[in-house]
Every structure is written in structure tokens, then in C-alpha cells.
Subunit: 289 residues, 4 copies
């Protein structure tokens, strides 16, 4: 999980491929043969789909290959096993953009964690269709882009947003209660790289006003779900969920307040898992090592 | 909650009525004026619906009215405030019937709690469309009725069941994983007196195979819900819910096994709340004091 | 729980006294006789200690007594039943001081909730033995007092603190990870009015470095406890606790990070309960309605 | 976790050794070189103690070594890396003895799970210092040994128990609320092979009457802990823990009842982890893969 800052750089390899004999042995041998000390190795096999997943992290301290050489020399293995794979390095911090509307609790939480060193990323910019976040952005020396959206301006404004994100080389977009539905076009520009927090236990109470839905239904727990954004609203691969007990005594206002505490924790755990390269997506599900 | 057996008898009054001034004062004064010592008093107001709810429990030790006189003398108050009300006594144990199909875990749990004195009820009979529960019923000296059901026989067999329940003066029917949908006719005979356990966090994954649905969806928590049965399948007023954490490592079989633990606890808490007269129903919601 | 701001003022009465017949009836009749509409009424009886507890909240909208008259006219009842009692009004916001050392997470959380209207109090000042909180205090326009403490200066500096708190008419002191042990003299000035957050599940891991203790012990859950401060270190009446799952994979650093999330929620719930006048203390325990 | 019964046999290797480069690669290569398909591989490094832990499970379907040959051929690797290691096979079910006194809830739960196929073990016998479990043992066709214990007879009776366990080739002893303290002599006969359930969140409330201790202390959560038994009472390596929320409304009797639900789940999870060979012990801690 969290690494103390003084550690030597590490490489992280994420792999998924059809399940077959010898994968783990080949990958670990490749690393050991070049002097890498394996720090973490997790693997999982989906028995029904017959897919193999692996996350392996090793120290670069005495490793004999350069970063480019790893890619070059590992490729034949990857081709042999028909792997989807990606290679990351612990000192390459993703560049993360935050989208927010008017509810500030998730944004505040992210920025507190960012400032206190919990998030291994750079946050160069915040985008909002409102102005509430402008001050907090400035206090944290983060660029703030106010991009109001109406039905008429949506297509053009999203295009502006895409441009801003591309210009800033953004790797990950997190929607900290951003109350706009993104178009398919926007999502296609950032496939599996947009994380949302939804304030219910999905698939229950998808769509608008989940707390009001929960209140009307009379559930005894409220929930929060963080998931990747796909074209199907609130249906993307789930990263993290949690629930919190309520009772008949809780008003709709109480649900919102207790829910905010839940949202902050669920959202931050999903973001941290993404930043630590612990998530693999397949079909509409995730493996979170 | 649980009462030690040596306590003197207690009366329990459940009230719901339009919210208005003076209800609590009138009810508590009625009890105090006749020498009753109030042991528990809970009240709740639904601000939106403007409904007042109360559960009040008092000792009959020095109470000056007989049980019939309580009803006679309290009626004018109840009429004045337009109350829905019911009066119960701690020594009147509800007669409870258990319906079950082939999954025995909830039945075993109920019978263990029954035997060890946790359930303030009498269980005169078990009904099943299969024979798996026959032995355990006999071991506990409980009548077992095997009533197989097909599409053709359903109406007639349900009529038989209704007759059996009525002959045995059953107050409460609990569906311990009974895999038959009850008809509207059956439900009308036992309004707000049938409690089901559904193996998901409702409203997510209503209907059949909720664990398979949860597995396919890739949720990070599984749930269980106990609710009153109404004509809308899996939509009746929720009494109790809980969730349990799972991960990508859990197979469908693991979900079922972990889910069983959850079901047993959620179901038993709902049953205990019903037996202790702690549940009030309004609209499609419950107040559980 | 939370009240929308547009509500009329309410009175809250907290009562504890020897259990006896007629208390509830007398109190509710007193309120009803003067035109008060009871909004919440909770009572509890400790069967072993034979103590009666009550929290009752009513609307002042049509109430015929002034605030002073309530005290005057209720006193005879209180004397009759030998009550410990206190009377509060929803528009009288307690004045709360925050003490903090170098860990800022609880302070940030309190200030975020304060700013967003979740805390029905006024925070006129922050006191710290370090300077880390100075900026955030200024950002929120709250007086900051830097009062460093050494073994030699402790007595004098605490005297300064007491003076500051008294001059500012502070009702409640909350220790948001204040790493100084308060003297008996300090505590006596604010009996039952100092709330601490301890980063363990008390009584486990009292004293210093609870996360390091938990890590060494190999527990599978970490906890946090919020309690009133008494002369016995980490032994005062517990208001709120919670736990969070960890595993062998979590480093000591992970425990601290996950623990911070827990601390913030446990601490804020305890503070909110205190501000909403929902806590009664007896012996070394609390009733939290 | 749970495996469907139709799976081919699997080997499980548990390893702990000083952390060093190349362990994972060597072990996985060994398995792959002989045609084993790795199904699960977990590893963990304790950074502070510099110990490496591994659990690796592979299919024997196409594996070219016999069981004895695995031991023979793996030994040189084990010696090279100075491993503590053990080799298990999925079709070798441990023989488990249950000790119980008068509280039957954990025993009932174990026997229900045993009967329904959740526990991959054989239970040849139950030992008790009382007679309450005699009937349930007979119902499950399990030998029951009534071995009453007094201060005077303890040494002799324990000797009888050891003899019974040895004669029955018992691998694992589980104490399902066995209210006798085992002597050092007894424990030495079954090192790291005795699992206890303690009805508190250890290290809080060790020793006798933990629910009474919790009630007096006024905690807001109760807990349960399953751990290996060592000579230090209630101090052995913790396998699993959990907590459950209570309030001032819960009597001591309620604590016991809610606690029983917790105990059953915590205890069964610990037992299942042991039976699935997912636990490694080091110092006074566990790694539970």
C-alpha cells in the first residue's frame, strides 16, 4: 500500500491474459534473471472466464535493465502469452484532473490528502461548471477552469475541456460530484481513465437524487460507489463500495450528511488504488489487488 | 431488547396517528394515572408525512386495570387522536410458522435460537415444498407439512396452507428461504404478518439468483434484506439490512457461503424485532424502535 | 438529528434521576400543559443502577412560558424527583475551543464541517503547542494561540489557557489530537466538557503510540474512540467508537492513514452528539440518545 | 477460497524465510518445470522484520512429481533459502477435535457448517468438561468424551485428553468456548494447532467475563477474537477479529446474544482459514492469505 518516500524506485507490471501454465514462473524468472527483487506479487484467476491477472512490483535498485530495455525485453514474453500489459514506475506520478460542481466535500477531502502526501499524483487543474471551487483551487495553487454547461453549449464546452486535459497531459480524471453526464465522445478520449463517485450502493439508486430515492424506499443502510465511467450511466466497473447504517430517525438531510462521510472514504480509496496501479479492468468488473 | 425471564408481565402499546400536540403527555398520563411504571418509551415523528409513532412499554406489576379494561379505557384517547394502535402483553407469545424450501441455513438458525430461548414465540409448524426440513422439524418436535407446489397445484396447495395456518392460529409467517412466490390471495390473509429474507441489498438484485447477479455485476459488498411481504415481489417494507465485504477473489460459491452468514443475522434480527413488538409500518417503510 | 435552519426554536431538557414511577408522565404533562409540542422524547432506564434518563425536545412556537419561567416552574418537579437536569435552547450555540498539536486531519475535518454548517456551535479560538495550525486558523478567521509547553512551563501555560478559555466563555473544549496530558487542575475547570479523540479502540492500546502498539500486536482491526477527559488518562466516559479492517499487508504507515479516516468520523460524531445535547454521563458511562 | 468438490487435487506450499532476491522466481520455476499450473500465489514481505512469506497452490493434474518426490526435490531449494515450509494436499483433510463447555452456540455453528460441507476436515471427536454437548455429538455421529476437570484432577484429566487426541491422530484442536485454561504441557503437545474463540476485541477485555467487563466499561462496540493458544492466556497470534455496534440500550444479556452471532462468524472464518492452509505464524502475529 503506501510507501515511505525514501524507498528506491520500483517497477510495477500489470498483466491480464488467457489463463495457461507457466505465466507466473516466466514473469518472475524474467525479473529475477535481471537482478530485480520482487516486493509484491499478486495473481488471480477468474475460473469462469479463464483469465489470468497479475500485479508484480519489484525494486529497481540492482535491476540491470533500463526502463526502455524492460519494455523491449519483456515484449516477447507478453506476445507469447497474449498479454494485455502495462508497465509503470513508482516515481512517475500520474497527472490528475478533478471535476466538481457545487458539493465540495469530496474535493476538500482530495485536496487535504494531496497536501498531506497521501496521493502519489500531480493535480494541475480543477474544472467546474460552477464557481464554488475557485477559492479552494487558488488556495492550493491549482489552475481553476470555470466551464459552465447548458444543453446548447455542452458539445462545445466538452470540446474545450478535452483540449484543456490534453494540453495538460492529464492521465486520470476524477469526478468529485460532477453533476453533468459526460458524452460518449468525451469518455472515448479517456477510456478507463475517468473515476466517478456515486452516492448510492450501485446498482441500487442509479441516476439522480440517490439519497432521496433511499429515503423514500426506507432502506436501513446507505451506500457509496466509486466506479470507472463508461457510456452506460452509473454502470461502469466498480472499484470500491461501502455502506453505513441509518434508521427511521434520520432525515433526508441526515442521509446526505452521513453519506458525505462515506463518499469521501470510498472515493479516496478508489483514487489511491488507481494511483498505486492496483486496478485491472475486465469486462465490466475490476480486480483490485 | 431481551428481557430476563423472571421479569413481571409488561404491556406494550404501539401507536401511529397524525402528528398533533399532547399525544405523548396523554398516553403517559393514562399509564401513570393507573399505576403503571413506564419501562421504555420511544417516539418518532415523520416530519414530511406528519405522522407520529410511539412504542411504550410498562410494568403490569402495580397496574390497576385488567387487560380488557386497558382496551376499554384507552379507546376514547385513541379515537380522539385518530390512532392506529395495538396492545400487546409480554407473556402472550406469537405463534410463528416457518416456510422453507431446500436451503436450510436460516431454518437451522431460527431453531437454534428458538431452543436456546432467544425467540419469545411458539413455533407449532414448518411448511415446505420439499422434504429436506423433515428431520430437523421432527428433532425439534415441530409439525412438518410437506406441500409440494407446481404451477397447476399452486392455488389449491396455497389454500391448504392457509387452512393449516388458520387452524394453528398462526400470528406470524416467516419465509426462511422459501422459493415460491406467494399469491395476492395468500398475502391478503396475513397482511403485514409475513416476513421474508432476501439474499441481496434491496432494491439491488431483486428477483431470482441475487448472488449470481451480484457476482456478474462485480459489486464489492454483498447484502441481505429482511422485509414484510406485499404483492410487489421483493418490494415490501424493509425491516433490517446488512452488508459484508467481498473481493474479486470470492467465487460465486464464496458469495453464497458468506451471504448465508449475513442472511441468518439479518433475518433473526427482523424476527426478534417483530416478536418484541418493535416494528411499526407506514406506507412502504418501517419504524423499528 | 440535524435540523433544517428554518425551524422554530426548541427547548431541550436533559434529565437523570433515581428510577421511579410517574417521571415521564409528569415531564410530558408539564410541557403539554403549557402548549409545547414534543418533537423528540427518548428515555432509558439502567436496570442495574436503577437510574432513569430522559432527553425531551419541544417546540417553543406556541409555548406559553418564557425561558426563565421554564426554569422557575420546572424546578419543583425536578426537586420532587431528585433530578440532575439541564435546559438548553436550539438557538444557543455552544462556544467551542479546539486544541491541536501537529496532526492536522481532525482539525481540518472539524473546520470543514463548521464551515459547511454541520456544527451548531461557534469556534472562537484554536490553541496549540505548535505552529502548524496557524495558517488554517487564519484562513477561517479563528483566533490562534500558540502556547508551547515544556515540563517546566506546563503549570503556567495551562493557567494561561484556562484564562483564555474563560475570557472567551468557552463551553466545550475538543482535543483534536492534542498531544499533551492535561493536569487535574485544568480538567476540574471544565468537568465533562472536554472531549478527546484517541486513536485506538479503548480500553485496548491506551497511552502513547496506539498504532505502533496495534501493529506490534497484529490485530486485524484498528479503532478510534472519542471520550470525555477525566483525570484517569484515556479512561473517561466513552461517547463513540468505531473500527476498520486491516490486514498483514498494512504497514504501520497504512494503519495511521486508515486510522485518520476513522478518527475524523468518530470524533465528529461525538462532537455533534455533544452539540445537539444528546449525551448524558453517569458513573463512567454515557447514554447517547 | 472455497473450492467446488469436482476439482482435481492441488498441492499447497507454505513458506517463510529471510527475505532475499529470487525466492518467488525459484519456487514458481520449480512448479512450472514439472508441469504444475499455479492456481493461487500470494506473497508478503514484512519490511521491518525482513521476512518473506508465501502461499502457493497448484494443480496436480498434469504434475510430473509424486507427492513424495515433491518433498525430495523441493528440499534443496528450501535449504538454500533457509525456509520454514510445509506441504499440504487438498484431499488430505485435517482431523479436528472440538472442545466445549456449556455454551453451545459455537459448537452448533461448527457442526452445521461441517454437515453442509463448508469445512474441509474430519471431526472424529468432541471433548467437554460438561454433558450439554452429548446429544448433539451423538446426533452427528461424533464420539463424545466427558472429561470433568477440577483443580485436583486437572493434570491427570489433561493427560487423558492428550492421549485421546493422539490416538485419534488429531491435527487441529478448536476451543468452542471451552472454559478451562490449558496447561503449558497440553499446549506444547499441539504447538500452533489450538485455535480459541475469545468473546472480546483483544487485547481489550482479556480473561474472564469479557461481556461483563465491556458492559461495565460502557464501550460502544463489542468484539470477538479468534487466535492460536499459547502459554500466555488470550495473548496468542490473532487470526480473525470483528466488532458489532451496541448502545446504552443493550443489557448485559443483549451483549451476550449479539456477541454470540459475532463469535460464530469470527471463529468459523479462523477455522476455515486454518483448514485451507492460509495461515502463517511468525513471532506473535499471523499472515492470513
Amino acid at each position: 500500500m503506501t510507501k515511505a518516500p525514501e524507498q528506491p524506485d520500483r517497477a510495477i507490471l500489470l498483466i491480464s491474459c488467457p489463463d495457461q501454465s507457466g505465466i507466473t514462473a516466466s514473469v518472475t524468472k524474467f525479473i529475477a534473471d535481471h537482478g530485480g527483487n520482487i516486493l509484491h506479487a499478486d495473481q488471480h484467476i477468474d475460473d469462469q472466464e479463464e483469465i489470468f491477472f497479475m500485479r508484480i512490483e519489484w525494486s529497481l535498485e540492482d535491476f540491470k535493465l533500463t526502463r526502455d530495455e524492460i519494455t523491449r525485453d519483456f515484449s516477447p514474453f507478453a506476445d507469447h502469452f497474449r498479454m494485455d500489459w502495462s508497465l509503470h514506475f513508482s516515481d512517475e506520478h500520474p497527472r490528475m484532473a478533478v471535476f466538481v460542481s457545487r458539493h465540495m466535500h469530496c474535493l476538500y477531502d482530495i485536496l487535504y490528502r494531496y497536501k498531506s502526501g497521501q496521493l502519489a499524483c500531480t493535480i494541475p487543474l480543477i474544472i467546474s461548471n460552477h464557481r464554488e471551487a475557485e477559492d479552494i483551487a487558488r488556495d492550493h495553487h491549482i489552475d481553476f477552469h470555470h466551464i459552465p454547461i447548458t444543453a446548447e453549449t455542452k458539445v462545445d464546452q466538452e470540446q474545450r475541456e478535452i483540449q484543456i486535459l490534453q494540453d495538460a497531459h492529464i492521465d486520470l480524471v476524477v469526478l468529485a460530484r460532477y453533476h453533468q453526464i459526460l458524452t460518449a465522445n468525451f469518455i472515448e478520449h479517456f477510456p478507463n481513465r475517468i473515476i466517478n463517485i456515486h452516492h448510492s450502493f450501485l446498482p441500487a439508486f442509479a441516476g439522480g437524487s440517490p439519497y432521496a430515492q433511499a429515503y423514500r424506499k426506507g432502506v436501513k443502510l446507505i451506500g457509496a460507489t466509486s466506479h470507472f465511467v463508461t457510456e452506460q450511466l452509473d454502470e461502469g466497473p466498480i472499484i470500491e463500495q461501502n455502506t453505513s447504517r441509518i434508521s427511521h430517525r434520520d432525515t433526508l438531510q441526515d442521509l446526505k450528511q452521513k453519506g458525505e462521510d462515506l463518499e469521501r472514504i470510498v472515493f479516496s480509496r478508489a483514487i489511491i488504488a488507481a494511483l498505486e496501479r492496483r486496478i485491472l479492468i475486465y469486462g465490466n468488473k475490476t480486480v483490485v489487488f
